[in-house]
Every structure is written in C-alpha cells, then in structure tokens.
Symmetry: C2
Subunit: 269 residues, 2 copies
C-alpha cells in the first residue's frame, strides 16, 4: 500500500479494458480514484460503481482538484480529449497509448508523461500488474520520478522508454499478442469443423509460448512450412474455405520459409 | 515403467525432432529401442548414440525381429519409405503424420496404425509427454488396443481420432503454433530495431496464451485492429520495412475486423 504522501487522487478519462484494469490496480494499491469520465454513460457508470466513485460523460464536469489525470482511451479519441480536459498548473497529465508521442500533451499541460503497460487487458479478466512491464516517460526528470512512483506502486517492472521506442513496443505487441490470438481464433474454427474441442490445443499453445523463453523464435520453429513440405501445405490450404484464410496460410508459410533460408544464415555468419 | 509383457522392441524410421522426442520418451518408459534409421548418417548416429542402439542409413539393413516399426519422417518422405521397409506378418507399423491417412500403410502391412502427438517438438528441448495429447488410429480393434497401450506408456492424454479428424488437428496446430511462433519471430525483429530485449515481450506472450483457457480467442482479442483504430494501424504499417510484413499486418488486421463484426454477431444470435 502507498503511504499518505505517495497517495494520488486520480481522474480516469476512459473506462475501457485498460482504464478498468489500471483503476482497479491503483485503487487496490491505496490510491484515490476520484472520478471516471467516458463518452458512454453505461461505461462510465459501470467502472465508477465498481470503484465506488463519481462518473461523468461531460468533460466540463471533470473534477478540478485531482492531482493526476489519466487518459486511457483509443488513440483516435485521445487528441480531441486532450483539447477538452481542464488544464491545472500543478496536476500531472498522463496518457497510456503505445503509438502516441508524449509531446501531444505539451500544448495544454505543464507536467505530463506516459505510462504504457505492455499487456493484453480485458475488463473481466483480473490480472496482477506485478509482472506487467510499464514503460514510462516524463516531461521533466521530476515528473519522471513521480510517474515512476505511481507505476511502481502496482508493478515491479517499471522502465523508461522514449516515444520512439514505445511505437516499436506497440508494434511488437501487435505481432506478439493480437495477431497470434487471431490465429487461435482461426484454429478454434478449424477444430469446430472436425467436431473436436478447442481445449485439445491448449498444451500446444502453452508450449509454443513457453518454448521461446529458452529458444529464439526462429530456432523454435517446426511444422510443414519450415520443412518446405509443399505436399502438406497444399492439402492444408485445400481444407480452408475462407479465401482470406487461404491467403493468410500462404503468406505466413512463404515468410517462414524466407526466414528459415535467409535469417538463419545471418545467425551463422 | 512398462511390464515385460508390455515392453515393445521398436525400430525408429526417422531421426528428426519428433523421432528424437518419442524415442527418448519410450526408452525412459522401459521400451527397447532397437535401431534408428535415417537417410542422413549424422542424424542416424546422433539419435542412436543418444539411445545406445544401432544406426543405419540403408533400409535393407533394418532389423527384422522388432515388433514395432515407427515412421517419424516428413510427409513427403513417408510414402517412398513405406515401399522400402521390410514387411513382417506380426509386427506393428505406425506412422506419426498429421496429414497422412492411415490407409497409406495398408498396401504393405497387415497391422498398422497412427500415433500423432499434438505438440511442437525440438530435438534439444526436453518435454514431458505426460500432458501431450496423442491421437491414435488402428487398422483393427486389437491393433488400436496395442497402440493405446504403447501411447499410454508415455501420455495420460490418449484419444482416438480418424484420419479425417487428424487432418484438421494438424491444420489447427499450424494456426495455433507454427504461425504464432513466426509472428513472435517478426516481433523479435521489431524489438531489435528499437534496441529493446525480446524478453520484455514474454509476459505478454504468456498471458495471450493463458487468457484463452478462460475466454474464447474471439472474446479475448484486444489491440488496434479490433478497435478499428485505423490511425494506429497506418502508422504501424509505416514502421515495417519488409513488404511481406506490411501485407501480413494488413491481412490479419482486416481479418480480425471481419471476425469482430461477423463472428461475434453469430455468437449473440
């Protein structure tokens, strides 16, 4: 739990997955979540009632006496909201977006920064923040120190990253999480077609994710594409009905082949 | 450990990842691995010396007194080898290929079947077979019983599957394992470009794989594509240099969007 001196009074701007998980974690760490803003009444109310704080759908009604204003909204919603939120001289303004530069906040605020969690967060899935890497950036060394304290109150993995590095982190996260998750969704459809339960794939999915703790992904690869087993690949493409899925199969297989023939040679140089 | 009555005398035809892991597991379970065949001298020797058994690169030299002959080779190598291996009346002939029908073995052998492990196996990564699902199929109920005993000597997850189901299992495995692993390899390159260590992604990769134990993959999805955050997607595509990677990004993002707008509606019907 944070000390009274460390305790922050936070307004959440946004009530989606990330806002929900962060607000719950900071509240549990002892911070005071003052208010939740969301454009959507139901979202604002849902998160506010979970936290026992006030909700609003109007930026004019935002509390002015908080010391921290945290933007946790989609990237396209961020810029218009920055223009609407009342600016205070002593408060800290933070955003949480991977692909948005910190300096977006400069035009309206004196003290500002970023706290970007590298994790996939869903409203209804409780997850300890302890091991979630939080990448922070501050508008001055003092501000960075404040953000670090706030971040360390929920995570043991707090690191500084520039806006430029954060863009790459966000891109890597899409390849490491969102895209693999979509391939799991396609695999689920394939299993359904054969009347087999999806959970038969769980040991395979778990091992694929665990293996790369010990082996570089390129060295961990197995399966028909890396063996150039064209016979199998053609038969597998024929089993897919969706032309987009056939194309995903072809493109990824070709690229696996490319990595195996070019990138591995680079390793051996 | 198997009893003397259950102990089988096995010849391995193939010395790759799958052959290595299966041979080690069966030997540890108390079976007798008689001989290893591989077209490649070095591979045959490497596995045979690990097991302390004989090696050969010539099918004419295969032991004739074993009771089990196990084909663990790439799908394209399987058919020609079936024609070369000496056929005995009482022995059991098994293949391990996901996409090959059991009946391939019919033309040469009397007792035959399949034992297909649904897992990604690398030569140098030791993995307990206990929880690896093994899908079996036999040419008769008696043969199926024999294969079941052999499979259960290393795994608690032994199930029957038809050749048709196995084709879908293999296809689902490519989407659940080989393709996600390749996306990890791309993510590793992206991290390198930003001078960030790959292991920062491990909590994210682990949680993505763990989340789907509780949520269907389609419900677990997060990130710019499912939010239709076109602004972020365009910026991320611009960060990629490789035109194939740009295309993989576009195609998967479009397909995530498609699933979110069509498949989820089906769920709610």
């Amino acid at each position: 739990m944070v000390t009274t001196a460390e305790k922050r009074h936070i307004v959440f701007i946004g009530a989606g997955n990330l806002a929900t998980r962060l607000a719950v974690a900071w509240q549990q760490a002892g911070h005071d979540i003052r208010q939740v803003y969301s454009r959507t009444e139901a979202s604002a109310q849902a998160l506010a009632s979970r936290l026992g704080c006030a909700a609003t759908t109007r930026t004019e009604e935002l509390c002015r006496d908080a010391d921290t204003y945290l933007f946790a909204v989609s990237d396209k919603a961020l810029e218009p909201l920055i223009d609407e939120v009342p600016a205070g001289d002593t408060a800290l303004y933070l955003h949480t977006a991977g692909s948005m530069p910190m300096e977006l906040l400069h035009k309206r605020f004196r003290q500002y920064g970023v706290c970007y969690p590298l994790q996939t967060l869903s409203k209804e899935r409780t997850l300890s923040f302890d091991d979630i890497p939080l990448f922070i950036e501050g508008s001055s060394p003092e501000v960075t120190t404040d953000i670090r304290l706030l971040a360390q109150s929920i995570s043991r993995q707090v690191m500084e990253a520039t806006s430029e590095q954060r863009r790459y982190l966000h891109l890597a996260a899409v390849f490491a999480c969102n895209f693999p998750n979509h391939l799991y969704a396609i695999a689920a459809e394939v299993m359904k077609k054969a009347d087999l339960p999806f959970n038969l794939l769980l040991p395979l999915i778990g091992e694929t994710a665990a293996k790369i703790k010990a082996l570089a992904p390129i060295d961990a690869q197995t399966g028909p594409a890396v063996r150039f087993d064209d016979n199998v690949m053609q038969k597998q493409i024929a089993l897919l009905d969706d032309p987009d899925e056939k194309e995903i199969y072809r493109l990824l297989s070709r690229h696996i082949h490319l990595f195996a023939t070019t990138r591995q040679q680079h390793h051996h140089e």
